[in-house]
Protein backbone atom coordinates (compact mmCIF):
# COMPACT_ATOMS: atom_id res chain seq x y z
CA UNK A 1 0.00 0.00 0.00
CA UNK A 2 2.80 2.39 -0.85
CA UNK A 3 1.12 3.65 -4.00
CA UNK A 4 -0.23 7.23 -3.83
CA UNK A 5 -3.31 6.39 -5.91
CA UNK A 6 -4.33 4.09 -3.05
CA UNK A 7 -3.49 6.47 -0.21
CA UNK A 8 -6.20 8.70 1.23
CA UNK A 9 -4.97 12.28 1.79
CA UNK A 10 -4.40 12.69 5.54
CA UNK A 11 -6.90 15.55 6.14
CA UNK A 12 -9.74 13.51 4.65
CA UNK A 13 -9.02 10.18 6.33
CA UNK A 14 -11.75 10.82 8.89
CA UNK A 15 -14.49 11.47 6.34
CA UNK A 16 -13.87 8.60 3.91
CA UNK A 17 -16.56 5.91 3.94
CA UNK A 18 -15.49 2.72 5.68
CA UNK A 19 -15.38 0.60 2.53
CA UNK A 20 -12.55 2.71 1.10
CA UNK A 21 -10.63 2.65 4.36
CA UNK A 22 -10.99 -1.13 4.35
CA UNK A 23 -9.83 -1.30 0.74
CA UNK A 24 -6.71 0.64 1.70
CA UNK A 25 -5.95 -0.94 5.06
CA UNK A 26 -7.21 -4.45 4.55
CA UNK A 27 -7.37 -4.88 0.78
CA UNK A 28 -5.21 -7.08 -1.40
CA UNK A 29 -3.27 -4.28 -3.10
CA UNK A 30 0.43 -4.85 -2.58
CA UNK A 31 -0.21 -8.10 -0.72
CA UNK A 32 0.34 -11.68 -1.80
CA UNK A 33 -3.15 -13.00 -1.17
CA UNK A 34 -4.82 -15.80 -3.07
CA UNK A 35 -8.03 -17.80 -3.25
CA UNK A 36 -7.18 -19.61 0.00
CA UNK A 37 -7.11 -16.27 1.86
CA UNK A 38 -10.67 -15.26 0.88
CA UNK A 39 -12.51 -14.03 3.93
CA UNK A 40 -9.39 -12.52 5.47
CA UNK A 41 -9.14 -9.44 3.26
CA UNK A 42 -11.38 -6.82 1.65
CA UNK A 43 -12.27 -8.15 -1.78
CA UNK A 44 -12.04 -6.15 -5.01
CA UNK A 45 -15.56 -7.21 -5.87
CA UNK A 46 -18.09 -6.95 -3.14
CA UNK A 47 -21.67 -5.97 -3.78
CA UNK A 48 -23.01 -6.97 -7.17
CA UNK A 49 -26.37 -7.31 -8.89
CA UNK A 50 -25.95 -10.93 -10.01
CA UNK A 51 -28.50 -13.59 -9.09
CA UNK A 52 -28.21 -15.77 -5.99
CA UNK A 53 -26.13 -18.83 -6.82
CA UNK A 54 -24.65 -17.25 -9.94
CA UNK A 55 -21.59 -19.12 -11.16
CA UNK A 56 -20.20 -15.93 -12.67
CA UNK A 57 -20.16 -14.19 -9.29
CA UNK A 58 -18.29 -17.11 -7.77
CA UNK A 59 -15.75 -17.23 -10.60
CA UNK A 60 -15.21 -13.48 -10.55
CA UNK A 61 -14.52 -13.42 -6.83
CA UNK A 62 -12.01 -16.24 -7.26
CA UNK A 63 -10.37 -14.52 -10.23
CA UNK A 64 -10.19 -11.16 -8.45
CA UNK A 65 -8.44 -12.83 -5.53
CA UNK A 66 -5.87 -14.31 -7.91
CA UNK A 67 -4.57 -11.29 -9.85
CA UNK A 68 -0.78 -11.37 -9.41
CA UNK A 69 -0.55 -7.58 -9.44
CA UNK A 70 -3.97 -6.01 -8.82
CA UNK A 71 -2.60 -2.49 -8.28
CA UNK A 72 -1.52 -2.46 -11.93
CA UNK A 73 -4.27 -4.58 -13.48
CA UNK A 74 -6.89 -3.27 -15.92
CA UNK A 75 -9.84 -5.48 -16.84
CA UNK A 76 -11.67 -5.43 -20.18
CA UNK A 77 -15.13 -6.96 -20.11
CA UNK A 78 -17.99 -7.27 -22.54
CA UNK A 79 -21.76 -6.91 -22.50
CA UNK A 80 -23.85 -9.47 -20.68
CA UNK A 81 -24.21 -10.96 -17.21
CA UNK A 82 -20.43 -11.37 -17.07
CA UNK A 83 -20.02 -7.59 -17.00
CA UNK A 84 -22.81 -6.69 -14.59
CA UNK A 85 -20.63 -6.58 -11.51
CA UNK A 86 -17.71 -4.71 -13.05
CA UNK A 87 -18.88 -1.24 -12.08
CA UNK A 88 -18.44 -2.45 -8.51
CA UNK A 89 -14.89 -3.71 -9.05
CA UNK A 90 -12.09 -1.77 -7.37
CA UNK A 91 -9.96 -1.75 -10.50
CA UNK A 92 -9.93 0.26 -13.69
CA UNK A 93 -12.12 -1.57 -16.16
CA UNK A 94 -13.68 -1.05 -19.55
CA UNK A 95 -16.99 -2.22 -20.93
CA UNK A 96 -17.08 -0.89 -24.54
CA UNK A 97 -19.49 -2.87 -26.75
CA UNK A 98 -20.59 -6.49 -27.13
CA UNK A 99 -17.83 -8.75 -28.39
CA UNK A 100 -15.02 -6.29 -29.08
CA UNK A 101 -13.15 -6.91 -25.81
CA UNK A 102 -10.06 -8.54 -27.31
CA UNK A 103 -9.60 -5.72 -29.82
CA UNK A 104 -10.02 -3.11 -27.07
CA UNK A 105 -7.54 -5.02 -24.90
CA UNK A 106 -5.03 -5.15 -27.79
CA UNK A 107 -5.03 -1.36 -28.12
CA UNK A 108 -5.01 -0.84 -24.36
CA UNK A 109 -2.11 -3.19 -23.67
CA UNK A 110 -0.03 -1.60 -26.45
CA UNK A 111 -0.81 1.88 -25.14
CA UNK A 112 0.25 0.95 -21.62
CA UNK A 113 3.48 -0.60 -22.94
CA UNK A 114 4.29 2.72 -24.59
CA UNK A 115 3.38 4.84 -21.55
CA UNK A 116 4.97 2.64 -18.90
CA UNK A 117 8.00 0.94 -20.43
CA UNK A 118 9.54 0.30 -17.02
CA UNK A 119 6.41 -1.03 -15.32
CA UNK A 120 4.24 -4.09 -15.93
CA UNK A 121 0.59 -3.28 -16.50
CA UNK A 122 -1.54 -6.42 -16.74
CA UNK A 123 -4.53 -6.28 -19.07
CA UNK A 124 -7.02 -9.11 -18.51
CA UNK A 125 -10.08 -9.87 -20.63
CA UNK A 126 -12.98 -11.35 -18.68
CA UNK A 127 -16.11 -12.00 -20.72
CA UNK A 128 -18.95 -14.40 -21.26
CA UNK A 129 -19.32 -17.21 -23.76
CA UNK A 130 -21.54 -15.19 -26.12
CA UNK A 131 -19.09 -12.29 -26.24
CA UNK A 132 -15.99 -14.43 -26.63
CA UNK A 133 -17.22 -17.52 -28.46
CA UNK A 134 -19.82 -16.09 -30.81
CA UNK A 135 -20.12 -12.41 -31.63
CA UNK A 136 -16.51 -11.56 -30.74
CA UNK A 137 -14.79 -14.77 -31.84
CA UNK A 138 -13.07 -13.13 -34.80
CA UNK A 139 -11.53 -10.44 -32.62
CA UNK A 140 -10.66 -13.00 -29.92
CA UNK A 141 -8.84 -15.27 -32.39
CA UNK A 142 -7.05 -12.41 -34.13
CA UNK A 143 -5.69 -11.18 -30.81
CA UNK A 144 -4.27 -14.70 -30.39
CA UNK A 145 -2.87 -14.82 -33.93
CA UNK A 146 -1.18 -11.48 -33.34
CA UNK A 147 0.35 -12.78 -30.12
CA UNK A 148 -1.04 -9.99 -27.95
CA UNK A 149 0.30 -9.98 -24.39
CA UNK A 150 -2.83 -10.49 -22.33
CA UNK A 151 -4.89 -13.29 -20.81
CA UNK A 152 -8.43 -14.01 -22.01
CA UNK A 153 -10.76 -15.54 -19.42
CA UNK A 154 -14.15 -16.88 -20.49
CA UNK A 155 -16.91 -17.17 -17.91
CA UNK A 156 -18.84 -19.97 -19.57
CA UNK A 157 -22.47 -20.25 -18.52
CA UNK A 158 -23.31 -21.98 -21.80
CA UNK A 159 -26.02 -19.53 -22.86
CA UNK A 160 -26.93 -15.88 -23.41
CA UNK A 161 -28.13 -15.38 -19.85
CA UNK A 162 -28.72 -11.64 -19.69
CA UNK A 163 -31.01 -11.61 -22.72
CA UNK A 164 -33.12 -14.45 -21.34
CA UNK A 165 -31.39 -17.78 -21.84
CA UNK A 166 -30.73 -18.23 -25.54
CA UNK A 167 -28.46 -20.87 -27.10
CA UNK A 168 -24.82 -19.89 -27.56
CA UNK A 169 -22.02 -21.67 -29.40
CA UNK A 170 -20.85 -22.88 -26.00
CA UNK A 171 -24.19 -24.53 -25.17
CA UNK A 172 -24.04 -28.32 -25.17
CA UNK A 173 -25.37 -30.53 -27.97
CA UNK A 174 -29.10 -31.16 -27.78
CA UNK A 175 -29.77 -28.62 -25.02
CA UNK A 176 -33.20 -26.99 -25.36
CA UNK A 177 -32.91 -23.22 -24.88
CA UNK A 178 -34.53 -20.13 -26.34
CA UNK A 179 -33.68 -19.92 -30.04
CA UNK A 180 -32.94 -23.66 -29.91
CA UNK A 181 -36.54 -24.83 -29.46
CA UNK A 182 -35.80 -28.39 -30.57
CA UNK A 183 -32.38 -28.62 -28.98
CA UNK A 184 -28.94 -27.41 -30.06
CA UNK A 185 -27.94 -28.98 -33.37
CA UNK A 186 -24.15 -28.83 -33.09
CA UNK A 187 -21.70 -29.57 -30.28
CA UNK A 188 -20.14 -27.14 -27.81
CA UNK A 189 -17.24 -25.25 -29.39
CA UNK A 190 -13.89 -26.69 -28.37
CA UNK A 191 -12.35 -23.32 -27.68
CA UNK A 192 -9.43 -24.45 -25.48
CA UNK A 193 -8.12 -26.55 -28.39
CA UNK A 194 -8.83 -23.76 -30.87
CA UNK A 195 -6.98 -21.33 -28.58
CA UNK A 196 -4.02 -23.66 -28.34
CA UNK A 197 -3.86 -23.99 -32.12
CA UNK A 198 -4.28 -20.23 -32.55
CA UNK A 199 -1.19 -19.21 -30.67
CA UNK A 200 -2.15 -19.33 -26.99
CA UNK A 201 0.91 -20.61 -25.15
CA UNK A 202 -1.23 -21.81 -22.27
CA UNK A 203 -4.90 -22.71 -22.18
CA UNK A 204 -6.98 -24.23 -19.45
CA UNK A 205 -10.44 -25.55 -18.82
CA UNK A 206 -11.42 -24.84 -15.23
CA UNK A 207 -14.09 -26.13 -12.90
CA UNK A 208 -14.42 -23.71 -9.96
CA UNK A 209 -15.03 -26.71 -7.69
CA UNK A 210 -11.23 -26.82 -7.87
CA UNK A 211 -10.98 -23.32 -6.41
CA UNK A 212 -7.30 -23.40 -5.47
CA UNK A 213 -6.36 -24.77 -8.86
CA UNK A 214 -8.41 -21.99 -10.47
CA UNK A 215 -6.38 -19.42 -8.56
CA UNK A 216 -3.12 -20.95 -9.70
CA UNK A 217 -4.22 -21.21 -13.33
CA UNK A 218 -5.43 -17.59 -13.46
CA UNK A 219 -2.16 -16.39 -11.92
CA UNK A 220 -0.10 -18.46 -14.36
CA UNK A 221 -2.13 -17.29 -17.34
CA UNK A 222 -1.63 -13.61 -16.45
CA UNK A 223 2.07 -13.97 -15.68
CA UNK A 224 2.74 -15.91 -18.86
CA UNK A 225 0.79 -13.43 -21.00
CA UNK A 226 3.27 -10.73 -19.96
CA UNK A 227 6.27 -12.53 -21.35
CA UNK A 228 5.24 -15.34 -23.66
CA UNK A 229 2.06 -14.29 -25.42
CA UNK A 230 -1.69 -14.84 -25.27
CA UNK A 231 -3.25 -17.29 -22.82
CA UNK A 232 -6.83 -18.58 -22.52
CA UNK A 233 -8.76 -19.79 -19.48
CA UNK A 234 -12.32 -21.12 -19.74
CA UNK A 235 -14.27 -21.36 -16.50
CA UNK A 236 -17.57 -23.20 -16.05
CA UNK A 237 -20.16 -20.89 -14.45
CA UNK A 238 -23.54 -22.56 -13.91
CA UNK A 239 -26.59 -20.33 -14.29
CA UNK A 240 -29.45 -21.20 -11.91
CA UNK A 241 -31.78 -18.60 -13.43
CA UNK A 242 -31.78 -19.84 -17.01
CA UNK A 243 -31.04 -23.51 -16.39
CA UNK A 244 -33.78 -23.64 -13.76
CA UNK A 245 -32.09 -25.07 -10.70
CA UNK A 246 -31.99 -23.78 -7.14
CA UNK A 247 -29.25 -21.30 -6.18
CA UNK A 248 -27.96 -23.65 -3.50
CA UNK A 249 -27.41 -26.36 -6.11
CA UNK A 250 -24.67 -24.47 -7.98
CA UNK A 251 -21.89 -26.36 -6.24
CA UNK A 252 -23.57 -29.69 -7.01
CA UNK A 253 -23.75 -28.71 -10.68
CA UNK A 254 -20.04 -27.94 -10.66
CA UNK A 255 -19.22 -31.28 -9.08
CA UNK A 256 -21.49 -33.18 -11.49
CA UNK A 257 -19.80 -31.70 -14.53
CA UNK A 258 -16.38 -32.27 -13.01
CA UNK A 259 -17.13 -35.98 -13.20
CA UNK A 260 -18.09 -35.77 -16.88
CA UNK A 261 -17.06 -33.11 -19.40
CA UNK A 262 -15.88 -30.10 -17.35
CA UNK A 263 -12.78 -31.32 -15.56
CA UNK A 264 -10.05 -28.85 -14.81
CA UNK A 265 -7.28 -29.45 -17.35
CA UNK A 266 -4.40 -27.50 -18.82
CA UNK A 267 -2.91 -27.42 -22.32
CA UNK A 268 0.68 -26.37 -21.77
CA UNK A 269 3.12 -25.49 -24.55
CA UNK A 270 6.80 -26.35 -24.06
CA UNK A 271 7.65 -22.70 -23.35
CA UNK A 272 4.80 -22.46 -20.85
CA UNK A 273 6.11 -25.60 -19.16
CA UNK A 274 9.55 -24.03 -18.85
CA UNK A 275 7.95 -20.86 -17.48
CA UNK A 276 6.00 -22.76 -14.80
CA UNK A 277 9.11 -24.69 -13.80
CA UNK A 278 11.02 -21.43 -13.51
CA UNK A 279 8.23 -19.90 -11.35
CA UNK A 280 8.19 -22.90 -9.07
CA UNK A 281 11.97 -22.88 -8.87
CA UNK A 282 11.84 -19.25 -7.67
CA UNK A 283 9.51 -20.11 -4.80
Amino acid sequence: MKDGKLKIVPVFEDIMPQEYIDLVNNGLFGEDYGVEDLGSFKELLEEHPLCAGCGLALAKRLIAASFPNPEDTIVVGTTGCSSLSFTQMALHNIHSIFGNQNAVASGLKRALKIRFPEKTKDVVVIGGDGGLGDIGLGMVMHSWFRGENFATIMLDNEAYANTGGQESGMSTLGKVLNMAPTGKKFPKLSLPQIAYESGCVYTALVNPADAKKLGKIVKNAILMARELGPTYVQIYCPCPTNFKFKPEETLDKLKERRKTDYKTQEFISPEAKQFIERLEGEK
Partner: protein, 202 residues
Protein backbone atom coordinates in the same frame (compact mmCIF):
# COMPACT_ATOMS: atom_id res chain seq x y z
CA UNK B 1 -33.94 25.09 -28.52
CA UNK B 2 -31.52 27.79 -27.42
CA UNK B 3 -33.06 30.26 -24.96
CA UNK B 4 -32.14 33.93 -25.15
CA UNK B 5 -29.85 35.24 -22.38
CA UNK B 6 -29.83 31.97 -20.52
CA UNK B 7 -28.59 32.26 -16.94
CA UNK B 8 -27.16 29.46 -14.87
CA UNK B 9 -29.29 29.87 -11.77
CA UNK B 10 -29.94 27.48 -8.90
CA UNK B 11 -32.83 25.10 -9.53
CA UNK B 12 -35.03 23.25 -9.38
CA UNK B 13 -34.97 24.10 -13.07
CA UNK B 14 -36.76 21.20 -14.76
CA UNK B 15 -36.73 17.43 -14.89
CA UNK B 16 -33.81 17.67 -17.30
CA UNK B 17 -32.13 21.08 -17.43
CA UNK B 18 -30.15 21.88 -20.58
CA UNK B 19 -26.36 21.84 -20.58
CA UNK B 20 -25.34 25.48 -20.13
CA UNK B 21 -22.90 25.14 -23.04
CA UNK B 22 -25.77 24.28 -25.37
CA UNK B 23 -27.49 27.52 -24.27
CA UNK B 24 -24.56 29.60 -25.45
CA UNK B 25 -22.71 29.91 -22.13
CA UNK B 26 -18.98 30.02 -22.85
CA UNK B 27 -16.20 29.04 -20.45
CA UNK B 28 -14.02 31.81 -18.99
CA UNK B 29 -10.56 32.66 -20.29
CA UNK B 30 -7.45 32.69 -18.07
CA UNK B 31 -7.82 35.09 -15.15
CA UNK B 32 -11.62 35.01 -15.36
CA UNK B 33 -14.48 33.19 -13.71
CA UNK B 34 -18.18 32.63 -14.41
CA UNK B 35 -20.98 33.79 -12.13
CA UNK B 36 -24.38 32.42 -13.15
CA UNK B 37 -23.21 32.17 -16.73
CA UNK B 38 -21.62 35.64 -17.02
CA UNK B 39 -17.88 36.34 -17.22
CA UNK B 40 -16.21 38.20 -14.33
CA UNK B 41 -12.62 38.70 -13.22
CA UNK B 42 -11.07 36.07 -11.00
CA UNK B 43 -11.03 38.36 -7.96
CA UNK B 44 -14.72 39.29 -8.29
CA UNK B 45 -15.58 35.63 -8.74
CA UNK B 46 -13.72 34.80 -5.55
CA UNK B 47 -15.63 37.45 -3.62
CA UNK B 48 -18.90 36.01 -4.92
CA UNK B 49 -17.83 32.52 -3.84
CA UNK B 50 -16.87 33.76 -0.38
CA UNK B 51 -20.18 35.57 0.07
CA UNK B 52 -22.22 32.57 -1.03
CA UNK B 53 -20.39 30.26 1.35
CA UNK B 54 -20.49 32.68 4.29
CA UNK B 55 -24.20 33.36 3.86
CA UNK B 56 -25.23 29.75 3.37
CA UNK B 57 -27.02 27.87 6.12
CA UNK B 58 -25.39 24.55 5.38
CA UNK B 59 -22.44 24.93 3.03
CA UNK B 60 -20.86 21.61 2.09
CA UNK B 61 -17.72 20.74 0.14
CA UNK B 62 -17.66 17.72 -2.14
CA UNK B 63 -14.02 16.77 -2.75
CA UNK B 64 -13.67 14.27 -5.63
CA UNK B 65 -11.16 11.51 -6.32
CA UNK B 66 -8.47 13.87 -7.64
CA UNK B 67 -8.18 15.55 -4.24
CA UNK B 68 -9.10 12.60 -1.98
CA UNK B 69 -6.34 10.29 -3.13
CA UNK B 70 -2.67 11.28 -2.79
CA UNK B 71 -1.91 10.29 -6.36
CA UNK B 72 0.49 13.08 -7.23
CA UNK B 73 2.49 15.94 -5.79
CA UNK B 74 0.47 18.87 -4.54
CA UNK B 75 -2.71 16.94 -3.76
CA UNK B 76 -2.08 16.69 -0.01
CA UNK B 77 -1.45 20.45 0.17
CA UNK B 78 -4.53 21.22 -1.91
CA UNK B 79 -6.64 19.06 0.41
CA UNK B 80 -5.24 20.87 3.43
CA UNK B 81 -6.14 24.25 1.92
CA UNK B 82 -9.63 22.99 1.12
CA UNK B 83 -10.02 21.88 4.73
CA UNK B 84 -8.83 25.31 5.87
CA UNK B 85 -11.41 27.01 3.66
CA UNK B 86 -14.11 24.68 4.98
CA UNK B 87 -13.19 25.59 8.55
CA UNK B 88 -13.33 29.31 7.77
CA UNK B 89 -16.84 29.15 6.34
CA UNK B 90 -18.03 26.40 8.65
CA UNK B 91 -18.64 23.93 5.83
CA UNK B 92 -19.18 20.20 6.15
CA UNK B 93 -17.14 17.89 3.92
CA UNK B 94 -18.80 14.97 2.15
CA UNK B 95 -16.53 13.03 -0.21
CA UNK B 96 -17.09 11.70 -3.74
CA UNK B 97 -14.60 8.80 -3.62
CA UNK B 98 -15.45 7.50 -7.11
CA UNK B 99 -18.01 7.76 -9.91
CA UNK B 100 -19.75 4.37 -10.06
CA UNK B 101 -23.53 4.62 -9.68
CA UNK B 102 -24.45 3.61 -6.11
CA UNK B 103 -28.19 4.05 -6.23
CA UNK B 104 -30.07 2.93 -4.18
CA UNK B 105 -27.40 1.68 -1.78
CA UNK B 106 -25.70 5.01 -1.20
CA UNK B 107 -25.49 6.37 2.34
CA UNK B 108 -26.26 10.05 1.63
CA UNK B 109 -24.93 11.10 4.98
CA UNK B 110 -21.41 10.03 4.21
CA UNK B 111 -20.93 10.33 0.46
CA UNK B 112 -22.08 11.95 -2.77
CA UNK B 113 -22.18 10.46 -6.25
CA UNK B 114 -22.23 12.29 -9.60
CA UNK B 115 -24.93 10.00 -10.98
CA UNK B 116 -27.43 10.89 -8.27
CA UNK B 117 -26.05 13.84 -6.31
CA UNK B 118 -29.52 15.05 -5.34
CA UNK B 119 -29.92 12.25 -2.80
CA UNK B 120 -27.06 13.64 -0.71
CA UNK B 121 -28.17 17.25 -1.16
CA UNK B 122 -31.80 16.58 -0.23
CA UNK B 123 -30.91 14.34 2.70
CA UNK B 124 -28.52 16.85 4.27
CA UNK B 125 -30.47 19.98 3.24
CA UNK B 126 -27.37 21.45 1.59
CA UNK B 127 -27.93 24.97 0.24
CA UNK B 128 -24.45 25.72 -1.14
CA UNK B 129 -21.74 23.34 -2.28
CA UNK B 130 -18.28 23.17 -3.78
CA UNK B 131 -17.21 20.62 -6.38
CA UNK B 132 -13.44 20.17 -6.43
CA UNK B 133 -11.16 17.38 -7.64
CA UNK B 134 -13.88 15.83 -9.78
CA UNK B 135 -13.06 14.86 -13.37
CA UNK B 136 -14.72 17.46 -15.62
CA UNK B 137 -17.12 15.06 -17.37
CA UNK B 138 -18.52 13.77 -14.10
CA UNK B 139 -18.61 17.23 -12.55
CA UNK B 140 -20.77 18.63 -15.37
CA UNK B 141 -23.00 15.59 -15.32
CA UNK B 142 -23.59 15.97 -11.57
CA UNK B 143 -23.90 19.77 -11.60
CA UNK B 144 -26.65 19.58 -14.20
CA UNK B 145 -28.60 17.05 -12.16
CA UNK B 146 -28.30 19.28 -9.07
CA UNK B 147 -29.62 22.26 -11.05
CA UNK B 148 -32.46 20.07 -12.23
CA UNK B 149 -33.75 18.80 -8.93
CA UNK B 150 -32.51 20.98 -6.06
CA UNK B 151 -32.13 24.62 -5.08
CA UNK B 152 -28.53 24.09 -3.98
CA UNK B 153 -26.10 26.80 -5.11
CA UNK B 154 -23.19 25.11 -6.89
CA UNK B 155 -19.59 26.30 -7.02
CA UNK B 156 -17.00 24.44 -9.11
CA UNK B 157 -13.29 24.93 -8.46
CA UNK B 158 -11.72 23.43 -11.56
CA UNK B 159 -8.06 22.64 -12.24
CA UNK B 160 -8.72 22.99 -15.98
CA UNK B 161 -11.13 25.33 -17.82
CA UNK B 162 -14.07 25.56 -15.41
CA UNK B 163 -17.70 24.43 -15.54
CA UNK B 164 -20.57 26.33 -17.15
CA UNK B 165 -23.01 24.02 -15.42
CA UNK B 166 -22.07 25.38 -11.99
CA UNK B 167 -23.62 28.62 -10.68
CA UNK B 168 -20.11 29.92 -10.06
CA UNK B 169 -16.86 28.53 -11.40
CA UNK B 170 -13.17 29.29 -11.21
CA UNK B 171 -10.66 27.81 -13.66
CA UNK B 172 -6.97 26.84 -13.35
CA UNK B 173 -7.40 26.35 -9.61
CA UNK B 174 -4.01 25.50 -8.11
CA UNK B 175 -2.43 25.95 -4.69
CA UNK B 176 -1.98 29.69 -5.24
CA UNK B 177 -5.62 30.11 -6.25
CA UNK B 178 -6.69 28.26 -3.13
CA UNK B 179 -4.54 30.50 -0.94
CA UNK B 180 -5.97 33.58 -2.62
CA UNK B 181 -9.52 32.32 -2.19
CA UNK B 182 -8.85 31.70 1.50
CA UNK B 183 -7.51 35.24 1.86
CA UNK B 184 -10.54 36.73 0.08
CA UNK B 185 -12.90 34.62 2.19
CA UNK B 186 -11.24 35.72 5.42
CA UNK B 187 -11.61 39.35 4.37
CA UNK B 188 -15.28 38.87 3.50
CA UNK B 189 -15.87 37.11 6.79
CA UNK B 190 -14.29 40.03 8.60
CA UNK B 191 -16.60 42.47 6.78
CA UNK B 192 -19.67 40.45 7.73
CA UNK B 193 -18.36 40.14 11.26
CA UNK B 194 -17.98 43.93 11.56
CA UNK B 195 -21.51 44.40 10.32
CA UNK B 196 -22.94 41.90 12.74
CA UNK B 197 -20.84 42.93 15.69
CA UNK B 198 -18.09 40.37 15.34
CA UNK B 199 -20.24 37.26 15.71
CA UNK B 200 -19.95 35.82 12.26
CA UNK B 201 -18.98 32.18 12.37
CA UNK B 202 -19.74 31.46 8.75
Amino acid sequence: MKQKNYQVLPGPESYLPPAAASQGIVLPEKGEGLIEGRIYGEEETMVAIAKKLLNAKNPTFFPGPLVLWAWRDGVIEKAELLKELADIVGAKIIPMPDYRPKYPKINPEEEINPNHPNLTIWHNKIDACIFIGVHCHYANMGLKLIRGGTNCYTIALCGEYGHEDANITLRDVNLDTMRKLIKVTKEEKKKIGLKEGGNANG
